[in-house]
């Protein structure tokens, strides 16, 4: 590895470190972004792939599990980025309509940064997933455990968004409305996309596949059906 490559790699990982740390409060309406956008996108892909690989390792590395690890490593960054891309046009138009177009670039950076932080946190939590898989063989328990880790990562991402969005919200409180609106739509799309891209963990009783056949039903209807059944019980 030559010096230039080593230096750019160092800069890349130092950027990830800087992303996690709170910056000094600023009164500028435009947040300061020392990390290039391509690095943020690379963090999302790289760290989500790491967590995805761990996610697919249930219940161990025997049999077809390495294939499931590969599938999950591909699907997790897809989940984050495709959900984001699908919500971007609506985010752009409504931002424009609310008079926030001049802040669109920093707003999008903040959202991409949040996903990068989410991926970073997931990657950091990946060893916990491995320990869980080693200590418990229940598929449902593994699903719940990873769901909890996702919630933690989501909270961390939200923390960064608040940090990045702070100056924007102070300059124009409408950014807060926009942020909440985007978050609701993003989650709405991401849940369905996760349902379409399933399995991420992969039931060991079933065949290892990139995605389930006949999968095109609706996540929300499945959730509603579960609620109705639970209430009937």
């Amino acid at each position: 590895m030559n010096l230039a490559t080593r230096s750019s790699l160092r800069r890349f990982f130092l950027g990830a470190d800087a992303l996690l740390r709170p910056t000094a409060p600023t009164t500028s309406p435009t947040p300061h972004h020392p990390i290039p956008l391509r690095h943020l996108l690379a963090y999302i892909v790289l760290f989500a792939m790491i967590y995805g690989a761990f996610l697919g390792a249930f219940p161990g590395l025997h049999g077809p599990r390495p294939l499931q690890m590969l599938y999950s490593a591909i699907k997790l960054p897809m989940l984050l980025l495709v959900s984001f891309v699908l919500t971007l046009p609506a985010f752009f138009i409504v931002n424009t309509l609310l008079g926030l177009r001049n802040d669109f670039a920093p707003a999008v950076r903040a959202l991409i940064g949040a996903q990068a932080v989410m991926s970073l946190v997931l990657a950091a939590l990946a060893p916990l997933t491995a320990v869980w898989y080693c200590s418990d063989t229940s598929y449902h328990a593994a699903t719940f455990f990873n769901g909890a880790l996702f919630l933690i990562a989501l909270t961390a991402g939200e923390l960064l968004v608040r940090r990045q969005y702070g100056p924007l919200i102070r300059a124009n409180p409408r950014h807060k409305v926009m942020l909440v609106g985007w978050f609701v739509v993003y989650i709405f799309v991401a849940i369905q996309l996760a349902w379409v891209l399933r399995p991420f963990i992969g039931d060991p009783e079933l065949e290892t596949l990139f995605s389930r056949p006949h999968k095109f039903d609706n996540a929300y209807l499945v959730i509603w059906d579960m609620i109705v059944r639970a209430l009937r019980w």
């Binding site: 891309v85 699908l86 919500t87 046009p89 609506a90 752009f92 138009i93 409504v94 424009t96 309509l97 609310l98 008079g99 926030l100 177009r101 001049n102 409408r174 739509v185 799309v189 369905q192 996309l193 349902w195 379409v196 095109f216 039903d217 609706n218 929300y220 209807l221 509603w224 059906d225 109705v228």
Partner: protein, 338 residues
């Protein structure tokens, strides 16, 4: 096309509807060009809707459904506008609004452009759910929700722009009066409009008091004469000239305060209440009428989505109504309807 898109951008950013931009009493847009853009936007959303048919209706029927949705969506909005516009114009004129046919037409085109831009921006989400969902009621309700949200924003734009146009036109009206007959500081109440004079409560009347020219929000560095300043916009006030307008009861200045941000969005409400209650009521009723006609028109032009495993039909037979269908879809979705 690029110019038309930049016009759409101006409308969305609110640059076409700042007070100085409206000083001629109309929105400075090319209605023809913007109409082409809004047809394209509606067609994009129609195509996204058609994805459901493409994946759930067998063989070529799905493609036919997609093509039909692509054509029907622009038709839905244009026909709704054609049906509701004459009544709006007539009642608008009857209650004494000073909006001309041209100004009203441009206002409608701009409002539709906002509505359809928002709707088209939801297109990718609708297309994604259309491809990944087999539930017909879910897709139906998702589309209804997207249209309702876009409609709310489009109609919000319409009402806010109308309010701004009323402010500008009232200022021009008073300015012309002041030119014709100088107003003394103790001038009698001046009616907002011929009809408002007879029926409106005193709170909508205005009186004149002395003050120099002012800058309206959104004017940037371009000075605009205060309403009733007795000078052409941009020329400033004549010394000892006619002062700005004040509400007769509250005594508040008619023109908006200078503390407003220079950058306004298309949906920002500008303080001031020269809006005649009659005109306001007509527009509020029209918004409801537009929504009702739009929903019924969509019912007449249905199907937009296409039911799974059913052959393609261009128009469904006449039966039931939109609201019953939505309630039925909701019932099916939640398992309340067998």
């Amino acid at each position: 096309m690029r110019q038309w898109l930049s016009e759409l951008d101006r409308v969305l950013r609110g640059k076409a509807t700042t007070l100085p931009a409206l000083k001629d009493g109309t929105i400075d847009i090319s209605p023809g060009g913007l109409t082409v853009v809004l047809i394209v936007l509606a067609a994009i959303y129609g195509t996204c809707m058609g994805f459901y048919g493409l994946f759930s209706v067998p063989d070529w029927e799905g493609w036919k459904q997609m093509a039909a949705s692509t054509v029907k969506m622009p038709a839905l909005f244009l026909l709704t506008l054609i049906v509701t516009f004459p009544s709006l114009y007539v009642f608008n004129a009857l209650v004494g609004s000073q909006l001309t046919l041209r100004a009203l037409g441009r206002l409608m085109v701009a409002a539709m452009a906002v509505l359809l831009a928002v709707l088209a921006s939801f297109g990718p989400i609708v297309a994604f759910f259309s491809v990944t969902t087999t539930s017909h009621p879910f897709i139906l309700l998702l589309n209804v929700a997207c249209c309702a949200l876009a409609g709310a924003l489009g109609m919000g734009f319409l009402l806010q722009t109308l309010h701004r146009m009323s402010l500008v036109m009232e200022a021009t009206f008073q300015e012309q009066r002041a030119k014709a007959k100088p107003v003394s500081p103790t001038a009698p109440l001046v009616p907002l409009s011929p009809v408002a004079d007879e029926a409106a409560p005193p709170s909508v009347s205005i009186e004149a008091t002395a003050s120099p020219a002012t800058t309206w929000p959104g004017a940037g560095d371009v000075p605009v004469a205060a309403p009733g300043a007795g000078a052409a916009p941009g020329a400033g006030a004549a010394p000892g000239g006619v002062p700005p307008l004040r509400h007769s009861l509250s005594g508040q200045p008619l023109q908006p305060p200078l503390s407003l941000p220079a950058e306004q969005s298309a949906l920002d409400r500008i303080p001031g209440s020269v809006f005649s209650p009659h005109v306001k009521t007509v527009f509020q009723f029209w918004v409801i009428l537009f929504a009702l006609v739009g929903t019924q028109m969509s019912w007449v032009l249905r199907p937009f989505i296409g039911k799974p495993d059913e052959p393609f039909i261009l128009f469904s037979p006449r039966e039931s109504n939109f609201f019953q269908a939505v309630l039925k879809a909701l019932g099916q979705l939640l398992g309340w309807d067998s």
